[in-house]
């Protein structure tokens, strides 16, 4: 594989969720024990409201960890840090900044000198296929394009762990496919560790190395499914794909139609 060419500083960090517990004011939200290898893509899948986004938010430092420890690259992680950047489902772009200036914001926060920012931002936008739209405001872009800008902006932070909270959930099927391909191509270049929350079983099986199926709230690991052919374009043609999909659906309680 080509990953040897990638600079080590840019490559993914291992993530160790050592029996972490995250609490809401009204009780526990999640209790997770999970190890993620560097450069691995792990999809978190669970019934809606189970607390899967909360796990990402805790890793991003947006939610306190009540017990246990989250280690990134072996170091205990607390508080927001740029090496755990997050792509949100909602419109997280700053609407008063153009696509390029949104990316430049992330560069500025990383401490990139002012005169280097424009060039870098344009390169990142090029990577997500948005060069012609660099000077458009978010309101002038479609939903898919806005998520591309968000991805570019998140990459600008040079995260070693990429947290994605149902980033393609609000997109139409066609656009979602484009975005999934884009994510894989970006990942192939950077080998960032990816933790991705979704409620779409197919998306999970298409992108993941491993799919972590969670229980209803409080979220716990119900099962970890190692994907048979990770990111193989023809994976769907193989029977394992359907079987694993059925297995996961069964875990989520959608095993059969109520025929009786």
């Amino acid at each position: 594989m080509s990953s040897a060419a990638v600079a080590t500083t840019d490559a993914g960090a291992p993530v160790d969720l050592d029996n972490i517990r995250i609490d809401y004011p009204d009780g526990p939200a999640a209790q997770i024990d999970l190890k993620v290898d560097p450069g691995e893509i792990v999809m978190l899948l669970g019934p809606s409201g189970c607390g899967k986004s909360t796990i990402l938010r805790a890793l991003a430092g947006l939610q306190p960890i009540a017990a246990g420890a989250a280690r990134i690259d072996g170091l205990v992680h607390n508080g927001p840090e740029a090496h755990c950047a997050m792509v949100f489902q909602e419109d997280a772009l700053l609407p008063w900044r153009t696509a390029r200036r949104n990316v430049e914001f992330a560069l500025a926060m990383r401490g990139v000198p002012r005169r280097e920012r424009k060039q870098l931002a344009l390169a990142l936008l090029d990577q997500v296929g948005l060069t012609p739209f660099a000077d458009h405001l978010p309101k002038q872009l479609s939903g898919g394009m806005r998520q591309r800008v968000q991805l570019a902006r998140t990459l600008a932070a040079e995260p070693r762990v990429l947290l994605m909270d149902e980033p393609f959930g609000a997109l139409d099927a066609q656009t979602r496919l484009d975005m999934q391909e884009l994510l894989v191509s970006v990942w192939q270049q950077r080998r960032t560790t990816v933790l991705f929350v979704t409620h779409d079983v197919e998306e999970a099986l298409l992108l993941a190395d491993r799919v972590v199926v969670l229980t209803p709230r409080p979220a716990r690991v119900a099962r970890i499914v190692a994907v048979a052919r990770p990111r193989d374009p023809d994976a769907q043609l193989h029977p394992e794909f359907a079987l694993q999909g059925k297995e996961i659906l069964a875990l989520l309680g959608h095993g059969q139609f109520p025929s009786h």
Binding site: M1, S2, A5, R57, A60, G61, L62, P80, E81, A82, C84, A85, M86, F88, E90, D91, A92, L93, L94, P95, W96, R97, F105, A106, M109, R110, G129, L130, T131, P132, F133, H136, L137, P138, K139, Q140, L141, S142, G143, G144, M145, R148, R153, T154, A156, A157, L163, Q174, T175, D178, E181, L182, V184, S185, Q188, Q189
Partner: protein, 288 residues
Amino acid sequence: MTTTQERALPAVPVAEAPPIERVHPSPGRGGLAAVASRSLPIVPIVGAVLVWHLLTRYDVIAWVRFDKIPGPLDVYHSLRVQLETAEFRQHVVSSLRRILSGFALASLVGVVVGIGIGRSKVVAALLRPLIEIARPIPAIALVPLAILLFPTSEQGIVFITFFAAVFPVTVATIHAMKTLPLVWMDAASTLGARRRQVLFHIVLPGAMPAIFSGLSVSMGVAWICVISAEMISGQFGVGYWTWMSYSLLDYSGVVAGMLTIGAMGFTTSWLIERLGRRVNRWLPGEAR
């Protein structure tokens, strides 16, 4: 490098076209409609002046009495004469200076205090009650105190203007703090933004639409107060001049003063509006 996957990706996402900017009916199109829409605001103004002229020309007395009211022509002449005099221009300048100082001070204090209250529980607990007690007091009721407090009436008038203008901006800013989408703050902090950077890059620009609506309300009340204060305690200013004209039975002068105040108020509001549109052109309702 693994570029096959990358190549397969179109440079421009073809499946999703950017939303076409809304097509506005161009003003140049359809000559008659354009002329009609442009003359629309003129019609009621011309109508009002005409009614005014007729009422005063024929000294109509029908419960309200127009016999002592100057007509539009008298006012026009008075205004023309006054605008020539350095004295009148001095009055205009001093009113403008007062309102701009009071308003600028109020904007600054209002935004800072509003952000403080909106973002810090401690500041809110400290200042909110005081503000809520002070807010209902009409600024003009402070005239006696202002006369006692300040060495010159000039400073007193600026203070009164400030007092009137500060609350709308403060309240608008507090409100803006509560309506900012949290995801902006979350995104910024995961990108490594510190508190100060969140304040200047997220909070302030995000609050600008609300701040500007507060500013335009403030500008309105600032004019009311500056003119009233001038009428009561000033030695200069258009308000003072208008009141003097009344004392001297120069009724054309009174109306000329009123119209001057109207024109100045209109101009300042228009400037705020223009500035606000520029700052907030990212809002969904603003065409680029």
